[in-house]
Symmetry: C2
Subunit: 233 residues, 2 copies
């Protein structure tokens, strides 16, 4: 283990996740309407990318599945780039088995039911066609109930109202061990910003963290994940 | 005109558009669905930004109205940042009067009829709600028929089929002097790429330009605009 020893010397910190595999999703998804239009979510990928980096720093072998973002791939992490929710799910499933899954991406709940291969033309004097939507796969729920379910499954819940109640409901329905809930109301500035204010919801209760830099949220969450994983049978 | 002489010395080239004002639009628009979702167009802003810079290089006083892009504001140009089509139109009208308008932005034809102030919740077991759309203002057509219409109005037509026929029809309906038509079918790689292959459609006919770097398309178009403007009464 000369390489591991060298990494420890370079890094300095403890590596409680050495030998563990983690899958992290990050960023938005883009769902095509036609060749020139798409539906997107507001997500910079900063929180998800920071979590991938923080898990790697604790020694985990991390696969990051990222939607379209403008920030660089984190160092020391295997990054897979996808666009649509269905592609993101396929990439996450392909990365199984894993010990840890942290689903941070703001995945589109819906895609366009029949995305066009030609640009939809505006017809003068005619009302625009309604966009018919189809439900996207629920990536967190799929992984939370998968035959190859990672030991520790963490989801994110971006809400603008009833943040905690929605997070508690997601915990059971999606088969997650932890839900990181945050209020993404525009007034909070969290979407696209560099800070985050989260509540950690588990079967043990709710832990409200103070307002922190996204990198610090990532460091604390990675430490909590290492602690929870060590406590599992 | 010491400043103008100094600029000529720095730049070297002729400044046939000195004293002329130009408005250029660039990039996509983002139309909100709710606080976390939006409809977008694929547009990097590279072609529009290059045209703004090329017009400035020929001496024009350029206002660039840009949707959300990841590229820097061009030097020597006044850039106004907007998100929605309605904001873009307001910024263009606010920049009138002008001698030249070059409408390059990929403006969303439609916005969401009633964008929500709360995140739309997915209801398990229920079909997703259809997105009802409303027609956005047509910025090119509004400027082409404006009381303060610039002497030279140039539009872009991004098409995936019947490129030339669609461009000819737009010329008259939108009140433009020139339409720059390009085929944005995904196979062409033009959207988001660094090259472009355009046809210049005017009442005089069609001029097909070779495949060129977007910066070269911008330089040629700025020269054509200067030539056309000089020929006007």
């Amino acid at each position: 283990e000369i390489a591991a020893a060298a990494e420890r010397m370079l890094d300095g910190g403890p590596r409680p996740l050495a030998g563990k595999k983690a899958i992290v999703t990050s960023g938005p998804t883009h769902e095509p309407i036609d060749p020139v239009r798409y539906i997107a979510n507001r997500s910079s990928g900063r929180q998800g990318h920071a979590i991938a980096a923080a898990l790697a720093k604790l020694g985990a072998d991390v696969t990051l599945v990222s939607g379209p973002v403008e920030i660089p791939d984190p160092a020391g992490v295997t990054t897979v780039h996808v666009e649509r929710a269905e592609e993101m799910l396929a990439a996450v499933v392909a990365a199984l088995p894993a010990d840890i899954a942290v689903m941070v991406a703001a995945v589109a709940d819906w895609r366009v039911a029949a995305a066009g291969t030609q640009k939809i033309k505006k017809k003068p004097g005619e009302a625009p066609p309604p966009l018919l939507l189809a439900e996207n796969p629920d990536i967190l729920k799929t992984i939370g109930h998968h035959a190859d379910r990672p030991k520790l499954v963490v989801g994110f819940a971006a809400e603008t109202q009833d943040v905690e109640a929605n997070a508690r409901e997601k915990l059971t329905r999606k088969g997650a061990d932890l839900i990181v809930a945050n209020d993404v109301s525009p007034a909070t500035g969290i979407m696209g910003g560099s800070r985050n204010s989260v509540r950690i919801v588990s079967r043990d209760g709710v832990d409200a963290w103070p307002d922190l830099a996204k990198a610090e949220v990532a460091t604390r969450l990675a430490a909590l994940i290492a602690e929870r994983l060590a406590a599992l049978p």
